[in-house]
């Protein structure tokens, strides 16, 4: 556990921080993309006068950028909606753009560079074609294998971007790959979907509160090598607390839904990790009941170690983080692909895939 995790669990500790502590803290926050969140955290606990002005300025700078990206994301959502409405294709907003549309707490600080959308499986191809006719293009170069990988094995089409704009559109038809060990019946998600408040005369559907949290959990612990990182874990905490505040029986509903959709294991990982690394405090009974979905002890302990190295390293650039990321990467493939497919996938990625040339970061001026 590092200083960022400690401050998320107990913000009061920053009262006794010295310059060295703040200097270790800032790179961790930047790396986790939680600058805006920290401004809210310290404000909420009346600690802004304790935080060095330099950091407050850095937080504010990041928040200004976040506001800009949020406007872009909302605009992109509206544009996609306009096209799909014409085709009569229903659409659901997921993750960051859903929090934004539904005005949930993470929208106060959460940055995003792409928008994730859900359409029904039978609609995904017509939706993609309609967007392409309206000016969207693939956001990168995808060879035949990549195309096959996205379309047949995963639950999405290769990301699209409008040729005049920068925000990527990731269109999915499920929350987990159809080939993975967790199979979610997408029809049930649509049944429970709720409408976000109207904006610019439009409304967009989002997942129900319990499904939103289960999606966060599945995305973080099944899809990639914890790519969303600590930020997604903090999202989980913020959403959990928000929904619990609105519905005293929320924990019950969450458990029941996880059982019904077969998402108990990812829920366990999300709750345990959010509790340990982001300060989530669910009721004691709830923690105990979620632990029933934990894997056998040695595996659970090993995962705790891996997650800790990946999401809460003492400082950036430690070899343990690299090792943990590598193992989590392998694990994420293991849980979402049958062995034969995995071998084929790794073979292709290792020997056949075109590696893009590295470019220097762009510099204005």
């Amino acid at each position: 556990m590092n200083l960022l995790n400690k401050s998320l669990r107990n913000p009061e500790i920053v009262r006794c921080w010295k310059a060295d502590d703040w200097n270790r803290f800032l790179p961790l926050v930047r790396n986790a993309r939680l600058l805006g969140r920290c401004l809210f955290l310290f404000e909420q606990h009346g600690l802004l006068e304790v935080v060095p002005q330099r950091l407050v300025d850095q937080f504010r700078g990041a928040l200004a950028q976040t506001r800009y990206l949020q406007v872009q994301a909302k605009r992109e959502l509206r544009q996609v909606q306009r096209v799909l409405d014409n085709e009569g294709i229903p659409l659901m907003a997921l993750k960051g753009v859903a929090y934004l549309a539904a005005r949930l707490p993470p929208s106060g600080w959460r940055s995003l560079s792409d928008i994730d959308l859900l359409v029904r499986e039978q609609d995904i191809e017509p939706a993609e074609q309609a967007l392409k006719r309206a000016g969207w293009v693939p956001s990168g170069e995808f060879d035949d294998y990549d195309q096959h990988y996205y379309r047949e094995w995963m639950h999405e089409v290769p990301p699209l971007v409008h040729h005049n704009r920068e925000t990527e559109v990731d269109m999915h038809h499920n929350l987990a790959p159809p080939v993975s060990r967790i199979r979610i019946d997408a029809a049930r998600l649509w049944e429970d979907a709720v409408m976000a408040p109207e904006e610019y005369g439009r409304q967009v559907a989002v997942l129900s509160p319990v499904d939103m949290l289960l999606h966060n959990a599945v995305h973080l612990f099944m899809n990639d090598e914890l790519r969303g990182g600590l930020r997604d874990v903090v999202d989980f905490r913020d959403l959990f607390e928000h929904f619990l505040g609105q519905d005293a029986a929320f924990e019950e509903h969450l458990l029941a839904r996880a059982r019904a959709l077969g998402c108990g294991r990812p829920l366990y990982y999300a709750v345990a990790t959010s509790h340990r690394l982001a300060g989530l405090e669910p009721s004691a009974g709830f923690l105990g009941r979620v632990e029933r979905y934990a894997p056998v002890r040695p595996v659970a302990w090993f995962m705790v170690w891996l997650i800790e190295q990946a999401l809460a390293p003492q400082r950036l650039g430690m070899w343990q983080t690299a090792v943990a990321n590598q193992m989590l990467f392998v694990r994420s493939h293991w849980v979402r692909m049958p062995p034969g497919m995995l071998i084929r996938h790794l073979w292709h990625k290792t020997f056949k895939s075109k590696v893009p040339a590295t470019h220097d970061a762009e510099m204005p001026g």
């Binding site: 010295k18 790396n31 060095p52 330099r54 200004a64 950028q65 204005p364 001026g365």
Partner: protein, 297 residues
């Protein structure tokens, strides 16, 4: 090679620099000796490492890496270019994160506490002109980063080594043979570069904001007569937004800040070829009666 950590104040930013490149550290100390410290730990904005990679390029045709927060945003550069890499990299850090400020792509100098802001695309001569004005006694605010606090409309200095490129180097040496220049970097991505060191006063007064008073769009044109023409405020507004790094990003905040700046500044275009005459002309603006008053209005 032993690593050393220094703390350098760059305008409102405090930067930790760790390196074991002796030549680089010496150059850094040459340019920023008045704002550089080795002692007590303090809170930093950016922790930058300039180090050799852990591979054969550590010794053979040596390279250095620029690291911030364990990120390596650029490809390694030849070790002899460590100082330009540091300067360029720090600008990148600021440009991509300091949105608490409105960032103008402009050179700026101050007469007293009134600032002359000179925005311009590369090649317009803003660096050379800032350098020349500074060598004749104007306080250097910055050669290419105008940091505006949107809520106050004032300009925060960030005096740094001014990178003179190619023919500008000779132009400045001809203008002032005693100009304090650093080493020559014959091969950078911008060609041959030599930096001018800001004077002690500009550096120790770098935390004193200045009030934007004159907006001058410079344009170097070989053989041209120095011509200073008033610029229509609407056009000035348009051109200033074009020279603002984060105008789109800041949205309404930037719109209001630019409008405020344009209202309080006299706006000109300026064509020049001779530095002596250019400096005389622009310094003349500061000596006009009433210059002081209007800036504060």
């Amino acid at each position: 090679m032993k690593s050393e950590q220094l703390t350098v104040d760059s305008g409102p930013f405090r930067v930790g620099v760790t390196s074991s490149e002796k030549v680089f550290l010496d150059t850094l100390s040459y340019f920023y000796r008045d704002v550089l410290r080795k002692d007590a730990p303090s809170v930093l904005d950016y922790e930058i490492h300039i180090q050799r990679p852990l591979n054969v390029r550590r010794w053979v045709i040596p390279q250095v890496r620029f690291e911030v927060d364990d990120m390596r945003p650029f490809e390694p550069h030849p070790a002899e270019n460590a100082f330009p890499l540091y300067e360029w990299g720090l600008n990148w850090c600021i440009a991509t994160s300091a949105h608490r400020y409105m960032m103008l792509h402009a050179g700026s100098v101050a007469f007293g506490d009134l600032a002359m802001v000179m925005p311009g695309t590369p090649g317009s001569g803003k660096s050379t002109l800032s350098a020349a004005l500074h060598l004749r006694g104007a306080r250097l605010l910055s050669d290419e980063f105008g940091l505006v606090r949107p809520e106050k409309g004032d300009l925060l200095p960030m005096p740094r080594g001014i990178p003179l490129k190619n023919a500008s180097i000779e132009a400045i040496l001809e203008f002032d043979p005693a100009a304090p220049l650093g080493p020559t970097y014959p091969k950078t991505r911008k060609g041959r570069v030599r930096h001018l060191r800001p004077d002690r006063e500009s550096q120790i007064r770098q935390h004193e904001p200045a009030i934007p008073r004159w907006l001058v769009f410079p344009k170097y044109q070989a053989g041209a007569k120095e011509t200073l023409l008033p610029l229509d405020k609407t056009e000035a507004f348009r051109q200033l937004t074009f020279n603002c790094f984060n105008y789109r990003l800041l949205g309404e905040t930037a719109f209001r800040a630019v409008a405020q700046l344009i209202r309080q500044m006299d706006c000109y275009t300026f064509t020049f070829s001779n530095l002596e005459r250019a400096v005389a002309k622009l310094s003349g603006l500061a000596q006009e009666p009433g210059a002081e008053q209007k800036g504060r209005a």
